[in-house]
Symmetry: C2
Subunit: 179 residues, 2 copies
């Protein structure tokens, strides 16, 4: 039966859209998997996107969750595009190593989509690496503006759509809730 075989297939999951909850869902996914004793690798492609709350929480799972911060700040804007690309590619190489290592059951590539958006990595290269992943490995990708090529290969795509956001009414980001 085709179906029973398919259930062993690792999923490619994408959380995209302009709403809150993408990284938060990835965080939940990491901890759900760790709760099952799965080995998890999280690579964050935007420096500063994950902060104290997450890092402290992960300390209680340091036997199961590996966490890496790569990349630059949110804008990826600088005078030195070549330097930016180099930093982006370093993160991406780390991701490829984690995907190919056979060491993890879940790899989370948080804010990976920005690398494609800002032209740091070709979408086709992202697609090639993800479609070439070990079959049983689950991969979660988050970030706004996921490129179509990436959406096309995903098993599960959720668009987080901002319906209302308190920033609009002048409230600042809050500790323990958004970071």
């Amino acid at each position: 039966m085709a179906n029973s075989k398919q259930t062993k297939k690792g999923l490619i999951i994408i959380y995209t859209g302009n709403g809150k909850g993408k990284t938060t869902a990835a965080l939940g996914q990491a901890l759900r998997a760790a709760g099952h004793g799965m080995q998890v690798c999280i690579i964050q492609f935007i420096k500063g996107a994950w902060r104290c709350g997450e890092l402290e929480a992960f300390k209680r799972f340091d036997d199961l969750i590996d966490f890496h911060v790569t990349g630059k700040g949110f804008t990826w804007k600088s005078e030195n595009l070549e330097e930016d690309k180099k930093i982006a590619r370093q993160g991406w190489q780390l991701a490829q190593a984690a995907i190919g290592s056979g060491q993890y059951q879940l790899v989370i590539l948080d804010e990976l989509t920005y690398l494609a958006k800002y032209g740091m990595i070709d979408t086709q290269e992202l697609v090639d690496v993800l479609t070439g992943k070990p079959e049983s490995l689950h991969v979660v990708v988050t970030g706004r503006s996921a490129p179509q090529g990436l959406l096309d290969i995903a098993d599960l795509v959720t668009e987080m759509k901002a319906v209302r956001h308190h920033y609009e009414s002048g409230t600042k980001a809050q500790k323990g809730i958004e970071f």
Copy 2:
């Protein structure tokens, strides 16, 4: 300055929509808050919605996260509507007690919207309790079809929209990823 005072205000956050990631985001929110040392209460209104992965993960946070399962299975369908209402109200009373206790900085009401949807609790009653919460308390509500009255009082609403779902292609729910 109004803003500096506003930052102490606890938020009402709603994750709704037909896509995946609502409960997963709530789980991430719980662990982010716990990472900051905040006391968290999670009440699940659909029995079976959270399973082994989450429960195991929470064991590592039993000093910070209280977890309660209430309610019935996903359909809330039965021959005995009065019995169902009674069960729903018991869960809701627990929620009200947690909200009013002053013991928590974050209360998560997972799948609460179903209680309104199935007419177990009046939307107005949900609204009254949430707007009457302690000012600094954060509340996260998840579930499909959040009623308009609830959306109106939220600080932050994200609609999780299903763009693609692997169930469509015959793959079953997977351990460590969806439960």
